[in-house]
């Protein structure tokens, strides 16, 4: 260490450092133009001149390249230094009178006008660019010429190949003399950010996206100069912790595994090739993925909806569906991408939310395919409530408008009427495709691919490939949305898990949980974390003011706000802050504790706190989302909610959790395809199953089905499945049996089965609900009145029976959406379009001369089912669209049925003759309210059970230990039912395999001293948790068994002596909240 005096103050620097470096360390400002941290100093601009006193005399030196020595005295701001700098600046200003940085510096030193003759230059010849170019390992430029002719230039003023246009020179030039555009002769594009779909730039060193795990920057070797020349490494001079290691190599890691799950996903279709859409040439034609980024709070425009060309808010946006899907002409993608209709509707609705209601959104479509759970309602709302326009036509081309950034769309309606409209923006709803790399991987692994390059699997084992032990899930196994991908992911895990049952728990890694800090007796130190949730909260509530307000509340030691409090990086930061600030209570003001409390509690545990010293308050679902028209009041409410939460949190105490054994047996309710597969999968994972079926036979609806959409015969596979279940010693089958009663809770259920009037009670740890659906009985189209009108299942039975009458049919008409997508049942039954098409093809095969009509509203042959639709049209099946308010009319007569339907193309009714009418009847729920009550599981308006989370928890209930699959969840075909049955089991096994569960610490506790032995709590508790103490000093007083207590607090509220308290919701805590309202 070298000590010396800097402006009279003793400072320390390291041997070999220069004065400027030490001065910067101590915050002493010295002006400089030619200094760069990563480069050897050159003393070119002379601005950093300082006075050095060596004990005898003073000297003027350039501080950037004058090494320090012991005992020296440095003065950076003396009169002499200032006047020297003034002269330098005056000369620089005369040379470069228009350079902002020099003008500013000159002004700071009191110079308005130079005394010297002004020139018109902008280079100060500091040579920073030359040194930087050398550092890049190139030395393409140098200071050439002598004296007044000196300039920065390439040798002989020629364009040189040595220059790679990296732009390092331009990036360090203090005056802006060097511009990268001048070097390359073209406009410079930033490296497109992959995450922001190229709408934003990124650097060669970058964090892929804000929530990336791990949240560490990476170096893009294809762009980094060091990997081209061996030079640069400037970044290492800036990294304070020496974390950058350019010598890191890709590693090949070999793993020994028993099973492989392929989840490589999809690639969004690139519409560049579609010249007629002007995607690559017109900035306002964007893909749906780009539009997602524009709508996102973390996107390039921070969620502000503007169009790319001029950043103006669009007034009219068009979505073009099926770009890269259902198109053999341009892109060889014959399949439907399944998700685009729904995401386009979602984008239109959100765009309207972001802009104002006047935003005009139009979706150009062929068929709207909202076949997912609750999607049809969303579609109805988009059209009815939000006013999104739906135009039924495929737009082949869009036109640019000269002198305008708008886009013209000419289209023809179904009735042949031409039309044109101008839009501010066009969104291309691009499809999903398998990337060529994945295709190559699949080939290498011997995975068979379909026509659309998706993994080929069977309906009865939808995630298993032809290679034993290799499973697939997600969009690689066919285009699909999030819930279906999540289902398949769990399903693949179940398949792999069954294969690896014998190896279970042999490679377990224990999570390292830090020891819990004892906070008893400490004064509360509350940390408040306020979440912006992107723009969900931050767009309305003034989050910084809520944060500042929180900081003023009693016991609050720390308050901050985050863009997303739940993201991985925020969580790590929260744990760090808890430790740093020694917090002992945490309040998060964000979304709902129902979904996010466990996540934050885990962070508390990671930070060494008990998970119960945490309180969450809901300023999103119950504040920003519901008070959109009054931001000030929403902010005031958010402050109140935070104040209440802090008041409660200050009174919180650490709680202990009891452990509970999980009964290793399972109950499966319903023995259709889903129930059978669930039972079989559970058994193959080593668990005992009781399979309960209310009817006399196993198989459910599948007993009436003929073929799957992939052409597999259902009966053969079903018989095999039933046989394997019946012969499985680990599965007890109860036919003709109903559930009489269910008691208990996760891990310890007791269920009474009733068969033939006799009861039997079984015990089980988990339950899978697979109660299925049934065919709706139509009350229209002469169904039940004329035997020639049949339903899907009835027609399938005819196919199964090889009914000879089918061969004699000359005209058949299928009517779609019978009972579905109507006000009474506003959902799509998902399977009927494919089923009708399949049956139509079957009829054509039986008798090629038959005429088949399908009367439909939208054909929903999603995914690769689209091929069937194509095949049917090729085989001559005639499709006629009808509208809900102009339903077909069926009349009967001796010589056949007559169906009247309005043909949309000619706008007139046509009469079809038929000797068979097949109704695509809806799938309805059996509405088992009792079952819902038994297991405390919710049911939606349509009678289907409501899963824990529509996207991320489709196969489980919010009620612990109860799982869901098949048509009890929503109408679905066999392959999807099988996948969900396996998924439900996979979720159940995560519980069963643990063998023990922890019971919440939020339980009632008795203070026996206060107890008056009245017994109200014992009588009132629905879980039999309280009882009388049998011996000891408090004999006869009440006590609560924490394992049985569910923490409802009923006993606490009814205790007349005040002896009971509910931990986590204590009387003092609730009173504190009431106090703060």
């Amino acid at each position: 260490m070298v000590t010396f005096k800097l402006n009279g103050v003793e400072v320390e620097g390291e041997e070999g450092q220069y004065i400027l470096q030490v001065a910067q360390k101590y915050g002493v400002e010295i002006p400089t133009l030619c200094h760069h941290k990563a480069l050897e100093p050159a003393g070119m601009c002379r601005l950093c001149t300082v006075e050095v006193f060596d004990g005898r005399r003073t000297r003027f030196v350039t501080s950037c390249n004058y090494p320090i020595w012991k005992g020296m005295e440095v003065f950076t701001d003396t009169e002499a230094v200032r006047s020297g700098r003034m002269l330098i600046l005056e000369m620089l200003l005369a040379r470069c009178p228009d350079v902002a940085i020099i003008k500013d510096l000159a002004k700071a030193y009191g110079i308005d006008e130079p005394r010297f003759k002004k020139e018109n230059d902008d280079c100060i010849l500091c040579g920073l660019c030359v040194r930087m170019c050398e550092k890049m390992g190139r030395s393409a430029i140098s200071l050439t010429g002598r004296g007044v002719d000196m300039v920065v230039d390439t040798p002989f003023h020629l364009q040189t190949d040595v220059c790679m246009a990296c732009g390092a020179c331009a990036s360090v030039c203090p005056t802006g003399h060097i511009k990268l555009e001048d070097i390359t002769g073209r406009k410079i594009k930033q490296i497109p950010s992959e995450y922001d779909m190229g709408l934003k730039g990124r650097k060669p060193i970058y964090v892929p996206y804000a929530q990336a795990i791990p949240n560490t920057p990476v170096i893009d070797r294809t762009k980094c100069v060091h990997f081209k020349t061996g030079g640069c490494k400037v970044c290492t001079n800036f990294c304070g912790v020496n974390a950058i290691d350019h010598s890191q190599k890709d590693e090949v890691i070999e793993l020994t595994v028993g099973s492989i799950i392929l989840a490589p996903g999809f690639r969004p279709f690139d519409p560049t090739e579609f010249a007629s859409y002007h995607y690559s040439s017109h900035p306002n034609v964007v893909t749906s993925m780009e539009f997602e980024r524009i709508l996102s709070a973390s996107g390039p425009t921070m969620g502000h909806l503007v169009r790319p060309s001029d950043k103006k808010e669009p007034k009219k946006i068009a979505w073009l569906q099926c770009v890269g899907s259902r198109d053999l002409n341009k892109c060889d993608h014959g399949y439907c991408s399944s998700v685009c209709c729904m995401y386009a509707i979602k984008e239109a609705v959100i765009a309207k939310e972001h802009a104002d209601k006047s935003l005009d959104c139009a979706i150009f479509y062929m068929d709207i395919r909202t076949h997912g759970k609750d999607f049809e309602r969303y579609y109805d709302d988009a059209r009815g409530k939000h006013g999104v326009r739906f135009i039924n036509t495929r737009v082949p081309t869009v036109e640019t408008i000269k002198g305008s950034d708008d886009i013209l769309i000419r289209y023809t309606l179904q009735n042949g009427q031409p039309n044109e409209e101008t839009f501010d923006m066009v969104v291309l709803s691009i499809g999903l495709e398998t990337s060529p790399k994945v295709v190559e991987m699949a080939r290498n692994m011997g995975i068979e691919l379909t026509e659309g390059q998706f993994a080929n699997t069977s309906s009865f084992r939808p995630v298993a490939t032809a290679q034993d032990g290799i499973y697939v899930c997600g969009a690689f196994a066919g285009p699909k949305d999030i819930p279906q991908s999540v289902i398949e992911a769990s399903s693949a895990a179940a398949e792999a898990g069954a294969l690896l049952t014998s190896a279970r728990n042999t490679l377990t890694k224990e999570k390292d949980i830090p020891e819990e800090r004892n906070i008893i007796g400490e004064r509360p130190r509350v940390g408040v974390f306020v979440c912006q949730c992107g723009i969900n909260i931050g767009g309305l509530v003034d989050v910084p003011s809520v944060r500042d307000y929180a900081a003023t509340l009693p016991y609050v030691e720390y308050a901050s706000d985050n863009l997303y409090t739940c993201s991985q990086d925020s969580q790590e930061n929260m744990a760090k802050i808890i430790k740093e600030k020694n917090l002992n209570r945490v309040v998060v003001a964000a979304c709902t504790p129902k979904t996010h409390e466990p996540l934050f509690q885990e962070t508390l545990v990671d930070a060494g706190l008990n998970k119960y010293v945490f309180e969450m308050t809901n300023i999103r679902n119950q504040c920003s989302w519901v008070h959109k028209d009054n931001p000030p009041m929403a902010t005031a409410k958010a402050k109140d909610l935070v104040r209440m939460a802090v008041a409660k949190a200050a009174l919180m105490e650490p709680l202990r959790e009891s452990e509970l054994e999980v009964d290793q047996r399972a109950l499966v309710v319903g023995a259709g395809i889903s129930g059978l597969v669930a039972a079989k999968t559970l058994s193959s994972q080593g668990y005992h199953v009781s399979l309960v079926e209310q009817s006399a036979s196993l198989g459910g609806n599948a007993l009436s089905l003929y073929k799957t959409w992939k052409g597999e015969h259902v009966q053969g596979h079903l018989a095999e499945l039933i046989n394997s279940v019946e012969s499985d010693g680990n599965i007890d089958i109860y036919k003709n049996t109903r559930l009489g009663n269910v008691e208990g809770f996760v891990g310890n259920f007791k269920t009474t089965l009733i068969a033939d009037g006799a009861d039997k009670t079984i015990e089980h740890g988990i339950a899978v609900i697979a109660t299925g659906g049934k065919e709706h009985t139509p009350d229209e189209y002469l169904y039940g009145k004329d035997p020639r009108v049949v339903t899907h299942l009835e027609l399938d039975k005819m196919f199964l029976a090889e009914d000879q009458k089918l061969k004699e049919i000359k005209n058949a008409v299928f009517i779609q959406c019978v009972g579905s997508r109507e006000p009474e049942r506003p959902y799509c039954s998902r399977v009927c379009c494919t089923h009708s098409i399949e049956s139509a093809i079957q009829l054509k095969e039986l008798n090629p001369d038959i005429t088949v009509y399908i009367l439909f509203r939208d054909i929903r042959s999603y995914g690769e089912r689209e091929y069937l639709y194509r095949e049917a049209r090729a085989k001559g099946v005639i499709f006629i669209r009808y509208e809900l308010d102009q339903k077909p009319e069926v009349t009967g007569g001796k010589d056949g049925l007559e169906i009247k339907v309005i043909n949309q193309v000619i706008g007139r009714p046509v009469i079809l003759k038929a000797d068979l009418v097949a109704l695509a009847s809806a799938i309805v729920s059996p509405r088992d309210e009792k079952l819902a009550q038994f297991f405390k599981i919710p049911m939606n308006e349509d009678g289907f059970f409501i899963e824990a989370h529509a996207k991320l928890g489709p196969s489980e209930f919010a009620t612990d230990g109860v799982f869901l699959c098949g048509m009890a969840h929503y109408p679905k075909p066999i392959d999807e039912s099988v996948a969900q049955a396996q998924a439900a089991v996979s979720r159940a096994v995560t519980l069963l395999a643990r063998q023990k569960v922890k019971v919440s610490g939020t339980v009632a506790q008795v203070n026996p001293v206060m107890c008056s032995s009245c017994g109200v709590c014992v009588d009132i508790c629905p879980y039999s948790a309280p009882s009388f103490i049998k011996q000891g000093p408090f004999t006869g007083r009440a006590e609560v068994n924490p394992v049985l207590c569910k923490g409802c607090g009923l006993c606490v509220a009814s205790c007349r002596s005040g002896a009971l308290n509910l931990k986590g919701f204590g009387t003092d805590q609730i009173m504190a909240m009431i106090n703060e309202i």
Binding site: W625, D640, C1048, G1049, L1062, G1064, I1070, I1074, N1075, I1077
Partner: protein, 66 residues
Amino acid sequence: MSDWEPKITTFLCHWCSYGAADLAGVSRLQYPHNFRVIRVPCSGRVSPKFILAAFRHGADGVWVSG
């Protein structure tokens, strides 16, 4: 008097009504801002004392839902 807004204290059961309030948010249903929610594990937890305390602290109405 015309500007007067009542202050309402609300006790919502974590398992049902609190979830319903969340769902109202998800569905973007808009409603007046002048009530404050206290989440309880069950409406059975709400002791008459809480209701009286809410009135004592200036609430104009108390809503227990579960």
